[in-house]
Amino acid sequence: MPPKDDSLDAFLPLHKDTFHILVALADHDRHGYSIMQDIAARTDGQIRLRPSSLYSAIHRMLEDGLIQELDERPCDGNDDDRRRYYRITPFGRKIAVAEARRLERLLADARATGLVPKRL
């Protein structure tokens, strides 16, 4: 249930786990372990979520309406009937985009001051 007051600012900055989960769900509906794998793959194994922290984050994100649980199972060949699949909500997408923009601005600021080179 998205909050009535959907001012994005209240959610920013996002917790890094939340942001990673949103990114993992951006192009795919996924189950929990798939999310963990996707994050690990994208960060070259730098970030490995534990099941306990993953599901705490998922619990919170469901409450906040950033993601939703799917009733049906997507047919991607790798399916397991018992697994729960999650999908990013339009609100979750808005939040993820807002967070990405925030990070972008931060990086731009850092570049403008010369703290960070123009190209890493």
């Binding site: 249930m1 189950h31 929990g32 372990y33 963990m36 490995r48 534990r50 099941p51 306990s52 922290s53 993953l54 599901y55 705490s56 998922i58 619990h59 919170r60 397991d80 018992r82 697994r83 729960r84």
Partner: protein
């Protein structure tokens, strides 16, 4: 998979750390994710991290859930501000009252005394008809020498000592004791030492111990005070020690002198001092009592004429001082318990009403997946929050109430009674807060979680039906509240009546425009009877010269403040044994005493200046005269005081005066006799000053006048006679006030409860009322319908409460005066008062019911 099964079982076990709701939803997923992780054969450290993660994340999840419930509850409370405020106030009053009374109970009955190993300190009392606890010195010596159960035994006394010196004379409460006293109490001096055995011998040079407070106040905390001499009474006494800060014994003593006994005077017949002892390690109070009773039996055999009918009681130190107030404190605790229960019932009702009103919201939450446990918890969180706010308010109330209560106590409380809250009070407040929250929240939480989703949603948001178990329960609560209020009001009514009866009691003496004061003259300057009598005459003359003063009398004591009882024998009447001889109140008085106090002289004459030792004369009261000489004049008859076998000299009756309640307003049994002041040497003389319209600033003007006679005469306790009377019945006033307060509180809370239930019932029946009015019911009929409904509840409560009151007010019996428990007049008054107030409280919702617009009510459907 098989080799991973134990690992998964452990993990599944750890998941119990999560809240049930979370576990139900995610446990399977988490286990599958763990199995997937383990399939990758991670490093053992990583595996450990997977398990440890649960230990870190599960408590966070629990915290998160509680936090959410608290936020939700706060939001609901904010939405219903007025309801929540009323609930908090009700709880604050309930918890505050209970905490206040418990603080009293704790301070008086539970807190450990400020003495090391205080459980071993006991009072030793000799008890017979004439002796009320005091111990004779030779008996004390026998106890000391022969006992097998005491570590030490000491005698002590209390009084007032006059301090003299370079600055103005001052009377301070004093104590005296044998050298073992401080050992028995286990208290070491701050400076110097306590008394030695030699200092307690007869005619030993005078020594004195000071309290820390007196040492600082009067002697500027002089570190070299030890060894210096100060003026105490008519003596110069050497200071041997200063006691530690906060130590006062007995009661409020500020200074101590050694007790010196004279075997010639301190006989086995002389019971003037008290005894206190420290039990040997391992000895019980009962063993000590058996031991001393055995010794007492030996003493009686050895000295049969001097010890008659005595026995020895040994009791824990605290108990003797508190046994009188114990039942009263427990009764108060019971009364305040009812107040708290009424408050609880109110909150339960309020939450039930709220739960009913929120049925639809709760049903929707349930439909969206909130478990029943979650819904119950949300309600409980709300009642716990209300409880916490109530407790905070209650603590503030108790903090303010205790000094207000103490202001009603005119006496010096013993130093060990400290009304400061401690861990026990804190634990008690926590316990009653938790208990209240659970008691008040459980039923609403349970009832709210029992929704039927389909039915509720079908009802179109009107909530559950008004009938059913909920309504019965709410009505039951109101009946209980009314019943408990009746009980408290009945108790309060009886206490108020007792106080009122005592207050309007005819004391037999004038109380208006009389000022009383106590004095002490230094015995070295006024050594013999003649000088002391002359001093009294001069003081009377000087005080009489004050503007507005009509007459002044001196006496051995002020009525109701001190008592001196002895047995009494009439010449010619059969000689009674000391066990059966009546005990008569004695007062030494100057001429003019009866005139000053307005006590009528019915036969014979007043004393005159020449009355004294020769011939011995006395004045008796009407009660005695009528009892012994019903058909003739008592004047000229002879009576004798003291134990009948003593052969004390005969006194001739020269006058008969009206009865006066010298001992206590309650006491109807003790008659009084009066003796001329010159017959005995009496160190502390009281003066009674009667004036026209009272004296302006009596303490100052009387002291100034006395100083003109002799600066060394110390003055204390300047009180108006009215104050003396009021103080003598302070207990009754205290309990009437407290009971009255709790009863009014209970009544108000019950009315709030009744109002809430009726207002809710009316709001639920708007539709029905609309139809009735549309069909032609008049507003009078509608009003009558609502009032009848509340009338039934009130009547049930009144009946239950009255029956309970008939039985439970018996607990107050010992506190009552000239009114019996279950007094019909009181009960009828209480019932009428409550019924009227209850009807007034229901009238508001009833009137509201008549304002229902039929069209609006019907359209709402």
């Amino acid at each position: 998979m098989r080799d991973r099964a134990p690992a998964l079982r452990v993990y599944r076990g750890l998941l119990w750390l999560y809240p049930a709701e979370f576990r139900d939803h995610f446990a399977g997923e988490m286990c599958r994710a763990l199995a997937d992780c383990l399939r990758q054969r991670p490093h053992p450290v990583e595996v450990l991290g997977l398990y440890l993660g649960v230990l870190i994340d599960a408590p966070k999840e629990r915290y998160h859930m509680i936090h959410q419930d608290v936020v939700y509850a706060l939001r609901t409370m904010r939405r219903e501000k007025l309801n929540s405020l009323v609930a908090m106030l009700v709880l604050a009053l309930g918890i505050g009252s209970t905490a206040t009374v418990f603080t009293l109970v704790n301070s008086i009955l539970l807190k450990p005394l400020p003495y090391p190993d205080q459980n071993r300190i006991v009072y030793v009392e000799e008890v017979s008809r004439e002796i009320n606890g005091a111990v004779a010195y030779p008996n004390y010596r026998d106890f000391q020498d022969r006992n097998r159960t005491l570590e030490d035994i000491a005698m002590f006394g209390s009084g007032l000592a006059t301090l003299r010196g370079d600055i103005e004379a001052e009377r301070v409460p004093s104590g005296s004791g044998t050298e073992a006293l401080f050992r028995v109490l286990g208290i070491q001096p701050l400076l110097g030492r306590t008394f030695t055995i030699e200092e307690c011998r007869l005619n030993a040079p005078s020594t004195v111990l000071l309290s820390e407070n007196l040492w600082r106040r009067r002697y500027g905390g002089d570190p070299g005070i030890i060894g210096k001499t100060i003026g105490v009474g008519s003596d110069q006494a050497r200071v041997v020690g200063v006691m530690p800060s906060g130590f006062h014994f007995p009661d409020v003593a500020e200074l101590w002198m050694p007790l010196q006994f004279d075997p010639k005077h301190n006989t086995r017949m002389d019971h003037g001092l008290e005894a206190i002892a420290r039990l040997r390690r391992g000895a019980s109070v009962e063993q000590a009592q058996d031991d001393l009773r055995g010794i007492m039996r030996q003493i009686i055999q050895e000295h049969p004429t001097e010890n008659y009918g005595q026995t020895v009681n040994v009791s824990p130190y605290r108990e003797r001082d508190t046994q009188k107030v114990k039942p009263v404190l427990y009764t108060l605790m019971g009364a305040v318990g009812f107040v708290l229960l009424i408050a609880c019932a109110n909150i339960t009702n309020l939450l039930l009403v709220k739960a009913s009103a929120r049925t639809r919201e709760i049903a929707v939450r349930g439909a969206l997946g909130a478990s029943r446990a979650r819904l119950v918890r949300q309600f409980m969180v709300e009642s716990v929050l209300l409880g916490l706010a109530g407790a905070a308010g209650g603590i503030v109330l108790a903090w303010a109430a205790i000094p207000a209560l103490l202001a009603l106590v005119p006496e010096h409380l013993p130093m060990w009674i400290q009304f400061t809250p401690d861990a026990r009070v804190l634990a008690f407040v926590t316990a009653i807060t938790a208990g209240t929250a659970i008691l008040a929240g459980a039923v609403p939480a349970w009832s709210a979680s029992r929704f039927n989703l389909v039915e509720t949603l079908k009802e179109g948001g009107r909530g559950s039906t008004p009938g059913g178990a909920n309504a019965w329960f709410r009505n039951g609560l109101v009946v209980a509240e009314v019943a408990m209020s009746v009980l408290l009001l009945a108790g309060a009514g009886l206490m108020v009546e007792t106080f009122w009866k005592l207050n309007s009691m005819q004391a037999g003496f004038r109380t208006e425009n009389i000022t009383t004061l106590q004095t002490a003259a230094p015995s070295d300057r006024y050594p013999n009877g003649r000088a002391a009598i002359e001093l009294v005459r001069r003081i009377r003359k000087e005080l009489a010269a004050l503007p507005g003063v009509i007459s002044v009398a001196g006496a051995s004591g002020v009525p109701l403040l001190g008592r001196w009882g002895r047995s009494f024998t009439v010449e010619g009447a059969p000689l009674l044994g000391v066990k059966d001889a009546p005990i008569i109140n004695h007062t030494l008085v100057t001429p003019g005493y009866f005139q000053t106090l307005g006590i009528p002289i019915l036969q014979g004459r007043d004393f005159n200046q020449s009355d004294g030792k020769n011939p011995l004369v006395t004045i008796v009261d009407e009660g005695i005269a009528k009892h012994y000489w019903p058909h003739e004049s008592a004047v000229g008859k002879r009576v004798r005081y003291g134990p009948p076998e003593d052969n004390e000299p005969w006194h001739t009756i020269v006058g008969v005066v009206g009865n006066a309640r010298n001992q206590s307003l309650r006491d109807l049994r003790h008659n009084s006799v009066y003796l001329p002041l010159g017959e005995y040497e009496w160190a502390s003389i009281a003066y009674l000053v009667r004036s026209a319209g009272g004296l302006a600033d009596p303490a100052k003007s009387l002291r100034a006048r006395l100083a003109l006679v002799d600066r060394n005469v110390a003055v204390s306790r300047v009180l108006s006679m009215k104050d003396v009377v009021t103080q003598s019945i302070w207990r009754e006033r205290f309990f009437a006030t407290i009971f009255g307060f709790f009863a009014v509180l209970a009544l108000l809370l019950a009315l709030v409860g009744l109002y809430g239930v009726m207002a809710y019932a009316v709001s639920r029946r708007t539709h029905e009322m609309g139809i009735r009015m549309a069909l032609g019911a008049t507003s009078g009929e509608i009003r009558g319908m609502v009032l009848a409904q509340s009338g039934r509840l009130v009547l049930a409560g009144l009946a239950t409460g009255t029956v309970a009151a008939v039985f439970l007010t018996r607990l107050l019996e010992t506190q009552l005066f000239e009114v019996s428990p279950g007094d019909p007049k009181t009960l009828v008054t209480v019932a009428a008062l409550l019924a009227a107030a209850a009807m007034a409280a229901s009238y508001i919702p009833a009137r509201k019911a008549t304002r229902v617009d039929p069209m609006t009510a019907l359209r709402e459907e």
